[in-house]
Amino acid sequence: MNLLRTCLTGALLALLAFAIFGPITNMLVWSVAETWYYPAKLPQSYGFSFWERVFRPQGNAMESLVNSVVIAVLTVIASLAVAIPAGLALGRGSLPWRSLFLLIFLLPQAFPSIAVHMNIARIFYGFGLNGTFLGVVLVHTIQGLVFSVWIATAAFSAVDRELEEAAANMGASPFTVFRSVTLPLALPGLMASAIFVFLISLDEFTGTFFVGVPDITTMPLLLFTASMEGNYQIASITALILLVPSVGFMLFIERFLKSDVLAKVGS
């Protein structure tokens, strides 16, 4: 009976492992396949010539990689610039209707975003923002805002108030207290929110599809175009480049987001 149960557990785990790693393995094989014609089960030849094509300095793959990183960095700066003050007010301030404000920042998660994105594109068109970096950064910022505001609020809420009071009692001005006590203690949470927003921007597809195309291509759009053209090597290499930071974040998030901060999310 016990042996049977162990075997069953093992079989189910193996099935889960196959379901999770099978698609990833298939992508890895494609990324180093030089030629792979139907109906061969494995590529006829392997090599890195497609890698060379992706990373060629003047190629459009390199351009979209640079675009993606620049847009993601600008998105992090823009989201944190508004989310840190908002998080401070929501976490430590005396804001009237605090829970209403927190709820408003959740709204973008409550609506299917595609219909909003296509109307943003239409509004941006009137301002000449379509196909510009500013336009794409703004679309990414609004998606990052939900998470950055909530995580920043939690990070500031988790700061021990007695430490701030101690500093204030010793004569520190409110700004000095913020700079030397509150901000350093909230920093790990803010770092987590910055990394998360970076990842959201790096992976964003729909907003860029409506606002950026055809002038601004990011990695997800390059992946999409290559895949639809049947160029599975380029698509798989791009997918791998996007996969590495996602999996890395999944593996390391617990180090950044401490449980005391997580416990304050939404409270």
């Binding site: 109906p39 804001l95 609506f111 975003s113 509004i123």
Partner: protein, 287 residues
Amino acid sequence: MYACKKDPHMLSRRASLYLVAPAILLLGLLFLYPLSFSLLWSFRDEETGGWGLQNFIKAFSLYSNDILFTLIIVTLSTTVIGLLSVAIGGYLTLGENRVALALLRWLYRWPLFIPFVVAAQLMRTFLAKNGMMNNIFVSTGLLEPLQAASFLDWRGIVITFVWKQTPFVALLVAGAMASLDRSTIEAARNLGAGRLRILVGIVVPQVGTTLVVGLILSYVVMMSVLSVPLMLNAQTPTMMTVDMAWRINAYSDYGVANALGFVSYAMTAVIAWFYLRQGVREGGKPA
């Protein structure tokens, strides 16, 4: 002694409002304004300049199959995600085999932050007729070579959604299950209840809210994914997101696209309403 104790709040009301204002302004300009734009403009007939239901009539006559298809795909995916999340969370809470627990904990979260467009590309190669899944099934004798079929249709969409969203819901559910009071579980176990019975009868009812919140968030996300149906399902019927993009890119027809958007909000609202009604009903009961 406490004479110099400060106000517990570091910031005044006015300062707090000033600090939160830029974020609210950004949200208003980039979310609430386009949202109201999309709601209003779905009733606008841009050819005649009037208002009415023309866009909805056109949307339903052209895309009623796709609306139904979307509803079925998203509901089916949500159901499977719910079942798998409960199974994963349940094993992590009630499982006894240490090796299996460690393996599962390490394994299930991998797709958590993988973007949909990447997941779609992985599945496009994996689920194809000549993809790795069929190749392995044929090599191990589970499938005859002639039986190998492409899964790149509605099944591909469901598989991708489940693959990508289950870790998120399972993470939430497992977290909620881990913080449950163990004494009722132990009591049931001492009375001889099986693990499945404990899971269904004791554990799941207590994490119901977390499970439903996770499922609703997934439902909303799946409702607005464009890349997965575009890349995995080249035939009709397809999902509404593809139709919206098509109306805009091919015809600049914002009216019908917004009408479809309105329908997708409505489909989400129905789910949210069911949930809220359930919450009110349960909230009325004595605990």
